[in-house]
Symmetry: C2
């Protein structure tokens, strides 16, 4: 009986919020590893906000997924076939197989994971790309000083949760912004932020004033839109604004809100430093990050939470939910049985 693999292709580019119709689940024959190749079975697929950008063909820092192509994404996989020296069936690897149950690889760009050192899924979260994004963006751009106030949007998410915890480790105050009372409670009580504010509350600006009586020195931007507008008046002179994501704007089809010229005016008078970045810009910090973060996770100074859905076919719905903030912590798809 011929085995099959499954994959999810981009069926059509979304206009505004993606819908299930933008994705197509396809059954294909199980590929076979040729000479110098590996066959990988996906265990975990990472869902991340940047994927929304890849679904569009607007100019960005990376090429879009073509219509009909498999959606890209970070994965943890098991090697189930190998004709490549150095890889054995049973090895667990970090790679970029994308939204599919199986993939071929020539081994380039793969990193072997040690399932006894840390749960392999963390290589997609706190010990992976989102963790490095938080670490490098906060420390290289935000540069929080002891006693300063750091505000982070999407504070219960994979990046934001780590930003606030590192801010605390560095002696700063950490104030989160998240969607809803449950997330806010988690950010305060479990992650140990000094406070967490609900961005759905109409009183967000007043709440920021109360939570940040000495103003905001670092605003780690994951969200954009109305949240940024609420934060702006509270930013201190010389505020640093690592610009990591704009999830509230990704589905925007019509712009609204303040004018660019008004942002430039406050950026001048209050001497902000606004700097856009993506994680690969800081690849050189990867080693420091991994050493520090492994220690912090082991010591319990950095905690994390995963939001897991089962089955590749549920990835589109989970991704749509992620863009709406339905996830709670790092969003993962358990594609196959977790080997680790």
């Amino acid at each position: 009986m011929a085995q099959t693999a499954q994959r999810i292709a981009l069926a059509a580019r979304p206009s505004g919020e993606p819908t299930l119709e933008n994705f197509r689940l396809e059954n294909v024959p199980l590929p076979e590893a040729g000479a110098g190749q590996l066959l990988l079975r996906t265990i975990w697929l990472s869902l991340d906000p940047y994927m929304r950008g890849r679904m569009s063909d607007e100019p960005s820092y990376a090429a879009p997924v073509e219509v009909g192509q498999v959606m890209g994404g970070g994965t943890v996989s098991e090697v189930i076939g190998s004709s490549l020296p150095g890889f054995q069936p049973g090895d667990v690897v970090l790679g970029m197989s994308g939204w599919q149950t199986h993939a071929l690889s020539d081994g380039k760009g793969l990193r072997k994971l040690d399932p006894s050192a840390a749960p392999p899924s963390t290589a997609l979260g706190v010990l992976g790309m989102p963790g490095l994004t938080a670490y490098a963006g906060l420390l290289e751009i935000g540069k929080p000083q002891p006693g300063e106030t750091v505000v982070v949007a999407a504070a219960s998410g994979a990046v934001g949760s780590v930003v606030g915890q590192i801010a605390k480790i560095k002696g700063a105050r950490a104030i989160g912004i998240a969607g809803g009372a449950e997330k806010c409670r988690y950010v305060k009580e479990v992650l140990g932020f000094d406070d967490c504010l609900d961005h759905r509350a109409p009183s967000l600006s007043d709440d920021l004033q109360r939570a940040c009586p000495e103003g905001i020195d670092v605003y780690f931007e994951n969200v954009g839109g109305a949240v940024f507008e609420a934060v702006l008046p509270h930013l201190n002179s010389f505020a640093r604004i690592p610009l990591c994501g704009l999830i509230a704007q990704y589905n925007d089809t019509a712009s609204s809100g303040r004018r660019m010229s008004s942002l430039m005016r406050v950026a001048l008078t209050r001497r902000f430093n606004i700097r856009g970045f993506i994680v690969t810009d800081f690849a050189a910090r990867g080693k420091d990050f991994y050493a520090d973060m492994t220690q912090w996770v082991r010591d319990g100074q950095v905690k994390y939470r995963e939001s897991i859905v089962d089955g590749l076919s549920n990835a589109p719905q989970a991704f749509i939910g992620l863009l709406r903030g339905a996830n709670f912590g790092k969003q993962l798809v358990r594609v196959g049985p977790d080997k680790a």
Copy 2:
């Protein structure tokens, strides 16, 4: 016969573009130096765009001039009376006497100038605050690398003219933007920029494309508004944007143009670094600046031009002209006979 002094006070706050009615020329008795005081006679008054901000009471990095107060500003003065050790009548000093013919001083913040080393007026321009603004903003934030393209707005002005010339010294290409053919010719032919574009031309965006075929790596922002919007699409990934001034927006009463969210989006995808600054943020670089710039001016690597009006009473009209771009180089008011 009692001698009199003259001064110009803020008569009323402007709404939009300042008018002559916002200023009031006052005749007052000549002050007398008391114990530990100096009496200064103003030789040169500097006019600078930042003064527009001081006329408003919107929050900014410095306190506004109060209605009825003398307008502030940098000055070169002659000591005409001294009961302060270390100062003699005839000394020429750099200070902040503001828009008046005479002022008392306790000596704090004054710097003695050597008229044999450089024309004293240059202490208000190329060897003073505008020069340091250009030097520090370009080198500390812009960080131009050899072969990169630097674009500077208001390229014939006191700051912009120096920015482009330092960019050339550092091995970068320098492209100016200025108002009108005469200024553009000066920027190219006298200052030695690689090109200079007229911001009044409807083809500015196309002209930028032609003059910067490899895109823009550093945009030194003096202007804001429509010029920034024309520059934005041509900025390369990792562009640095020293945000020094927004003269085109200072008189704005109604905002227009692109949305803040759209700026944030390109700043993220192209990883811009936008940083507002004022010259005092870089006071620590003053010594390096003075040594380098003195040498560059002496060697003819940095040229400068002054736009001079005679008489304190003409300062308001000259200032209104400055905001319209009517000046050509550093705008000065010759308040008294130039001693140097």
